[in-house]
Amino acid sequence: MVFNTDGVPFTALAPVDLDVPAGKFVSLIGPSGCGKSTIFNVIAGLQPPSTGRVVLDGEEATGTIGQVGYMLQKDLLLPWRTVLDNVALGMEIRGVPLKEARDRALPLLHRYGLGGFENRYPKALSGGMRQRAALLRTLLIDTDVVLLDEPFGALDAQTKAQMQEWLLQLFQDFGRTVIFVTHDVEEAVFLSDEIYVMASRPGRIIDQMTIDLPRPRDRSVISSPRFVAMKKYCLDLLHNVGEAPASRTAAA
């Protein structure tokens, strides 16, 4: 992926190969600016790649929009819509009549901790609730693949932990393929089946690891030796990349 900034080509992403099996939870971690959001934008069809292709379920999907659910780095709730109507937005755009979309969204709001707020406006929600609403909006769009770009990046530690468990439950309930971006190694290990570690300048994948901790996962897994070892391995990778960015080559 090459960007043209004031006529100067800037290689944001070196060739990157990401193969995500259906129904898996895959995380991308890497330093800021290594091109994680850019990968998502390309997959979602919002940015044409300079070279390369997006293939979904065996079919060419380069440059097509609406094929995957995408939760951008901000919650982007519309301030003039109620929480319920915000959550229903995706369905509405995809042709579900508003009333039916609301009927479908309402029970989910109740089930996932937004009950009683359906007729309030986003301003009235806490940060965690806003993220939940945005996530529900994304999941209610009927797509097999869901892209989540740092959904919990701006939350405090305690809310974040709650949201992670909530997301795991959602992942189980909805049975989607999830690609997840985060800066938080512990979060990545806790949630994922697979982790891709990236480095920057140019953005590239330097390692891939499989997390074979059993599901459903409980928070207690964090203190298990396997978890700690995998987390340490990841952290070391990221740390080394930070020290000597130029000399390292792709390990995966």
Binding site: N41, A44, G45, L46, I65, G66, Q67, V68, G69, Y70, L72, Q73, K74, L76, L78, P79, W80, L89, G90, E92, I93, R94, Y121, K123, A124, I141
Partner: protein, 284 residues
């Protein structure tokens, strides 16, 4: 490192040593607000004082009552104008052309401004023309507009529209450019069509911008129709002012100006109320 900084600091101050900060113990300044009743009383008193001063000055010929009239004479004229003069007709004519111009100018300007969202190329082509239109002193064109549209209602509405449409266009266009790019991307990521983005994102995001020009536009529309009436008309407050001035009925000039201010105040209040009402629908 720290030593170096300290050393250079004392060298700069050449033996004086660093200036000591004063220790400050001071209360946060707080103005007590007076009761509304007191404020209003003072306001009324100032007004009454000025009117009385005017009256006395006119009585003692300090100001020439022929050119400036005086409050009691104005009051008498006001009573006559309201009870038997053409007050109702004049108010009706001016009000009608103002409101029509206001609605026409605001609505078409807002639509034009928002239409720029559809194509950046189209926006770039049209933009210089809008800027040109903005820089033309439109009131200077009033005689021409009256020639084209005739003496009746349409010429006043046309001038009022001409005054309001450009501001509305530019403001709505500013609203369009302020539409959150990420929100647009969210819509497209869901697979929205351009029409869906326009109706569900662009229009709602522009509404606060459009609300913000309502108040300005009501004033502009009023100016437009008054000037139209100055140039040529059979009825209206503007015409009354012009007529009274040309026949040295200064009291009537004042009366018409007073009525005009009252009318304009009523419209401002209504628009202010409308603004609040619409705003409530926008930010909760």
């Amino acid at each position: 490192m720290t030593d170096a900084i300290v050393a250079s600091g004392s060298k700069d101050n050449a033996g004086r040593g660093p200036t000591r900060q004063r220790k400050i113990v001071r209360k946060l300044p707080v103005e007590k607000s007076w009761s509304t009743a007191l404020i209003v009383t003072i306001q009324v008193a100032i007004f009454a004082g000025l009117v009385a001063l005017w009256e006395i000055a006119a009585d003692f010929k300090v100001v020439d009552p022929f050119f400036w009239s005086k409050p009691t004479a104005i009051w008498d004229t006001l009573v006559i104008f309201l009870s038997q003069g053409g007050a109702a007709t004049d108010i009706y004519y001016t009000f009608r052309s103002t409101i029509l111009g206001f609605i026409l100018g605001t609505a078409s300007g807002a639509l034009l401004g928002m239409s720029f969202w559809w194509s950046r190329n189209y926006a770039r082509i049209i933009q210089p023309y809008i800027i040109c239109l903005e820089s033309i002193p439109k009131l200077a064109l009033a005689p021409l507009i009256v020639l084209v549209f005739g003496m009746g209602l349409s010429s006043k509405v046309a001038i009022a529209t001409a005054l309001t449409i450009v501001v509305s266009t530019l403001t709505a266009y500013a609203g369009v450019r302020a539409v959150d790019k990420d929100q647009e991307r969210l819509f497209y990521s869901i697979g929205a069509s351009r029409w869906q983005v326009f109706t569900k994102l662009v229009i709602p995001s522009c509404i606060p911008w459009i609300i913000s020009i309502l108040r300005v536009n009501i004033g502009l529309a009023l100016t437009g129709s008054i000037v139209g009436e100055f140039v040529s008309s059979e009825h209206g407050l503007g015409r009354t002012i012009l007529y009274a001035g040309s026949t040295y009925e200064i009291s009537l000039v004042w009366v018409a100006v007073l009525v005009l201010s009252a009318l304009s105040m009523v419209m401002y209040v209504t628009v202010g109320w409308l603004e609040k009402f619409l705003q409530k629908g926008v930010d909760h």
